[in-house]
Subunit: 463 residues, 2 copies
């Protein structure tokens, strides 16, 4: 097998003719904005697509962004609004005003329109909705009536549905003559007389079939209809599992009301993964472009919870004040036990939370997962007991100190393994997102157990 790793993958980005937003371009636009050279800004921006323009707008300073939006406004591409991050979008919407925003939204597919509207503040939302023509507004309001993060919110209304008795020829003729079709579509949905979906046909199969064949003959009857009420995370799981490109959405009467396409699902996957990452890091929903005040307030809550648990750990230490006063080495060494327990617990918990999100950790193997973590953490507990015990005994020239920290280490790491799986499993069963709350619980347990085991053993055997 020959190796072809001679080319640096980074080189290829520039040579492929991809309309990619390069950092150099951002820098040049910023410089042009600073110097007030608006015709240069226009010529730099005009070759860019809507996604790139959104990427360009986001990192700009608010005043620079305002100037650029003003330059783009005469022929503003509505897609840009759909691509923008929430905080930045709010500012752009405010600048453009309800009327212009409503006009832009009306041009978009209904899923993009809903995504923009649902994030607006109540008052702005009403103003924009009022400017939208009756018929379009009714559709948007119906979508907004579904719960947040449900299939009904991310579905698009524009789709191609045909009855079972149609032939491939009739479909092609319809598609060639009908002007009012979605921009892109990947499957045809087959409906019965009550508009219930009964199957779907990928376009590649339509193209490969003879004109006289009926859709009933070529359709895929395994019906992967999604309820409009289904949670978007479940929708993403369904798409992943069955490698879907699009799926029909039905209302509570099982009537076909929309379609979810894979690009919406990719956004959901990014959103859910980002949520899990931030929550595990002790950050509730946060917007990278959010204002300092909001960010400070959101993080404050989590830090306050942490402060309370830190005081709890301090209370444990407080019980052993006399012992520490006699053996100050205990104060020097005690953070090691707590820190190792916290890290081992976080490792276990991270694996458990990800496995729960990917539906790998289920009722079937929950007990086995806890058992495995006890073994893994127990084994590492023994290794680190030996290392830390020897180091502590040598440092303070006291074998008892080594034995005590070794025992505390094993106890704390085993407890970390147990807490790291049992807590997220328990929270999931209670219907709480394990990503958001497990971290505090687990480190509280390992701090308290760490200090208690180490100082408690010291009080028993050292004094």
């Amino acid at each position: 097998m020959t190796e072809r790793e001679t080319h640096n993958p980074d080189d290829t980005l520039d040579t492929e003719g991809i309309p990619w937003l390069k950092p150099e371009l951002v820098t040049r636009v910023v410089e042009a904005l600073e110097s007030g050279d608006h015709s240069l800004v226009r010529s730099l921006v005009s070759p860019l697509g809507s996604a790139d323009i959104a990427d360009l707008l986001e990192p700009l300073r608010a005043d620079q962004r305002e100037v650029l939006v003003e330059l783009l406004r005469p022929d503003f591409d509505p897609e840009i609004l759909a691509e923008l991050d929430e905080t930045v979008r709010e500012q752009v919407v405010e600048q453009m005003g309800a009327e212009e925003v409503a006009a832009a939204i009306t041009e978009l597919d209904s899923d993009d329109a809903v995504e923009i509207i649902e994030d607006l503040e109540e008052k702005v939302q009403q103003e924009v909705l009022e400017e939208i023509p009756e018929e379009d507004r009714a559709i948007l309001e119906d979508s907004l009536s579904y719960p947040e993060e449900s299939a009904g919110r991310i579905m698009q209304r524009e789709l191609v549905a045909v009855p079972t008795h149609w032939t491939v020829g009739e479909i092609i003729d319809l598609l060639r003559s009908d002007e009012d079709l979605p921009d892109d579509f990947y499957d045809l949905f087959i409906v019965d007389s009550r508009h219930h979906p009964v199957g779907s046909v990928p376009l590649s199969r339509v193209l490969r079939s003879k004109r006289e064949e009926t859709v009933e003959e070529i359709m895929d009857p395994s019906q992967k209809a999604v309820s409009a009420l289904m949670d978007q995370e479940e929708v993403a799981f369904l798409f992943r599992r069955h490698d879907l490109i699009s799926a029909p959405v039905v209302n509570t009467d099982n009537r076909l009301v929309g379609v979810i396409t894979i690009d919406d699902v990719v956004d959901v996957i990014d959103e859910e993964a980002g949520e899990d990452i931030l929550r595990l890091g002790g950050v509730a929903e946060e917007d990278f472009y959010g204002a300092v005040v909001n960010t400070t307030r959101r993080r404050f809550t989590w830090l306050l919870v942490n402060l309370l648990t830190a005081f709890l750990a301090s209370l444990v230490i407080f019980q052993f004040e006399d012992t520490i006063a006699r053996f100050v080495a205990l104060a020097v060494l005690m953070p090691i036990v707590a820190s190792m327990g916290g890290n081992a617990g976080t490792q276990t918990l991270t694996v458990a939370v990800r496995a729960l999100a990917m539906k790998e950790l289920t009722r079937t193997n929950a007990l086995r997962a806890v058992g495995k973590e006890l073994l893994v953490n127990g084994a590492n507990g023994v290794f680190f007991a030996v290392i830390t015990g020897l180091a502590a005994a040598w440092w303070f020239d006291d074998p008892r100190m080594g034995a005590i920290i070794a025992a505390a280490m094993i106890i704390n790491l085993v407890i970390a393994g147990f807490a790291g799986t049992a807590i997220p499993l328990g929270l999931t069963r209670l219907g709480v997102d394990p990503a958001i709350a497990s971290g505090t619980f687990v480190t509280t347990v390992t701090d308290v157990v760490g200090f208690l085991a180490f100082l408690g053993l010291a009080a028993l055997f050292l004094v």
Copy 2:
């Protein structure tokens, strides 16, 4: 706007006719396996698709899994292999033997085949490759010659490419007669005489165009060709940004060699998000179904790094032994300062790592991001200085103790804000994944600074 939240989204999963793997089904299969009722197992499993069977195999005990694979073997669906998790797949491959695995792989699309083969151990890989017919093997070996995690590894060779002068009618006729087409495809790729891609046409546009139109007239010339050497994370970014469903892949001579479809990209997105989550949690690449020994060894490395940094923090405390011996309250309170700094630093770092991964944090706004974090952490530092200072002063009836912990808190939180952004930014510039290394650096900084500031101020002003 009416609310329609009367239905519980969970209810709908069971009523939609979705071939969904329900936990009850897993339980029933396990029971049937335990009781040795093989015909019941077969009847339970036979309606399931390949993805569901893979999901069913994964959580089983190794011996149960072996029995189920044996039952499935007479007409084993090759797709199951592609869907399985790496560790479980290795065991199934071992059970089936090289010849049967090779036969299964030959039936798959080339991207799935490569995914299975690349994960096999060197020796097994060679055995399987030798059993694969010459022509297929050459294609697989070519794909394997591209770097791991590159576009060349995830691309599929089967695609539909047509020359520019063809008409829509000619294409439809070709598709209707050609047996050797990919199972599913979403775009036609247009190539010039040297087989360089010059454009693409989504199938929906082919269906909407008249028979006499040429592809040149209807194709999308904005060429989003991907180099086979491009990193898969970049590929995912490109798909997301341009809402692509499929993209042509070119070799170093710019010849069209394959296609990447969105379902492969979804796997990449999951993989990369999972990697970031695990790395931030201090877990190097880990497989949920991995053996205890491997898991223990992988986690050991990270815990060892943490032990060294914990000893570093202990060394700092050691410098203040005399002060602590005189004021044991310092030992009680010092973990609070370190813990709050660690949490604030982790918050900042998590946001920065995610923003870097989503390309929201760039050179353009790096300085502003650091500034924002200094403000956010400074503000929270002041709030928590007041809370903790008052609590400490009251607890130990000593206003100086309150003032000292308050000052240390502000110092440590500001440093946490700086380290939490500067460290991931610096690592990224050095080409190191910030998710894997930032955590240790940041908590080492906040531990050391926390203990140093608190105990140092105490030594200066308390004694």
